[in-house]
Symmetry: C2
DNA sequence: CAGAAGCCTTGACCCAGATCAATCTCATGA
DNA sequence: TCATGAGATTGATCTGGGTCAAGGCTTCTG
């Protein structure tokens, strides 16, 4: 279940380099003005924590560039990634106090934020924003539940293939390409981060990536640069031929 | 992460035996009248499928009594439960065409439904409904992500303990009790359904339930009637001492 | 009351993936 | 230029949970 393509509306938020899926879809000029007033940018370096689980979170926003992850950690240190934030993804929990997860920048990251209080007030007076956020949250819920199937029932090889398929597809969507020809992209995650996403160890990830390479499902230039010669083949390996809702 | 207690508002929806978390929180009298008009009940027998994944879904609603499950299935038959619907839980995807999962009644089930079209129209004109649904969807998202940690990183024993804790807590909340004294409830799931929820086989579920019984973490009368003498102990077994947000 | 059908339990064995450990590959920078 | 260290690979071994198989309990039904 793929999240909606990133650009719904037909205008940008002022000088913001991305279009905010959450708020732009049906924005009027005066709403955009309101948004400008409460908008600001934040930059993070790779590895930096954007916000800790439980911490007060006084903003909502979108990823402009870079990648962030949502992770949960148990007392004994076991961690599970529960979300992957790519450019245009929304971050934040309108109406909630704190963050439920650690949000960590895995690459250099730029976010476009709105101050939370006024944003929530805007939500009250501008019904379509709440509706838009509801749609996006339903998308996230679908993605999370799709991932439950991956975590609960797929083999290590299928898990890797599923992750590569998601990233490849998101990447293609972001660059407004289809998934027909060979797909080329840079893996935004270390083997360890992949393992945390997939509920595996990094060694198993490494082995299965090697195996997929050996079997010609993927090609690797270096450790991170990936080519998918045949996306359909990859989906088969993911145990997921039903090319579920591509290019929403 | 527990879903909100089931009754937020201070009135019932007409003769409906439960309070609809989604719509009642701030309903006005005339809205209630509108709701009455588009409301109807549906009953299902244990085992019956409420709706198949992909099917057109022309209603939204709440569970009145009984239990339903949301499941996803792979082509080869592997299945993963992705949600558990207890009384007062909301079902439906406003703004979406079809269901993304199979919804199956695991016990006899009564649902209170609203026709989807008019409900959506009401959402447009009654902003608080969309906001309320957003909050509930965020709760579900939290629950789904919490479950990703269970599926990805917990041992079989911890998984069983986690499931029992969730059901025990929901049951206590539903009956407006705390989790201090011993908790007693009936398991609404077969061993197989538990396995589908936990990403295990039914044999492993059976073994771990027996082990928890042997170790005094739970007591069993018959196969389904469970007593939790010490809820804190159960949470420890679940690897989850942080009694996360109980009785929201 | 016998037989059948669900559901559950328990045992024996096996294997996918975890764990432990050694080595490799680069990019960085002194 | 050569240390340094973070990330990745690969091998050897171990084990939690899967798989296969044999019963055991209840609740229906005839």
């Amino acid at each position: 279940m793929l999240q909606e393509a990133f650009s719904i509306g037909s205008h940008d938020c002022g000088d913001c380099p991305i279009r905010h899926r959450a708020v732009c879809a049906r924005c009027e000029a005066d709403e955009l003005e309101q948004l400008e007033e409460i908008k600001y940018y934040r930059s993070f370096e790779a590895g930096q924590t954007v916000i800790w689980s439980g911490d007060r979170m006084d903003f909502v926003g979108s990823v402009v560039s870079g990648i962030a992850t949502l992770t949960q950690t148990m007392e004994d240190g076991r961690t599970q990634m529960v979300g992957l934030l790519l450019p245009s993804d929304f971050v934040g929990r309108p109406g909630r106090q704190g963050s439920a997860y650690d949000v960590v920048a895995t690459t250099d990251l730029v976010m476009c934020c709105f101050r939370k209080k006024p944003f929530e007030q805007m939500m009250e007076t501008t019904p379509h924003i709440a509706q838009r956020l509801l749609q996006m949250t339903l998308d996230e819920l679908d993605a999370a539940r799709e991932w439950m199937l991956v975590l609960g029932r797929k083999t290590a090889r299928e898990k890797i293939a599923s992750l590569l398929a998601i990233i490849a597809r998101r990447d293609a969507t972001l660059h407004l390409r289809g998934t027909d020809g060979p797909l080329v992209f840079d893996l935004p995650l270390t083997r360890e981060a992949m393992a945390d996403y997939l509920g595996l160890t990094l060694e198993t990830v490494s082995r299965q990536v090697s195996a997929l390479k050996r079997d010609g499902v993927i090609e690797l230039q270096g450790k991170r640069h990936v080519t998918i010669p045949d996306f359909g083949r990859l989906l088969e390996e993911a145990g997921d031929d039903s090319d579920g809702g591509m290019l929403a």
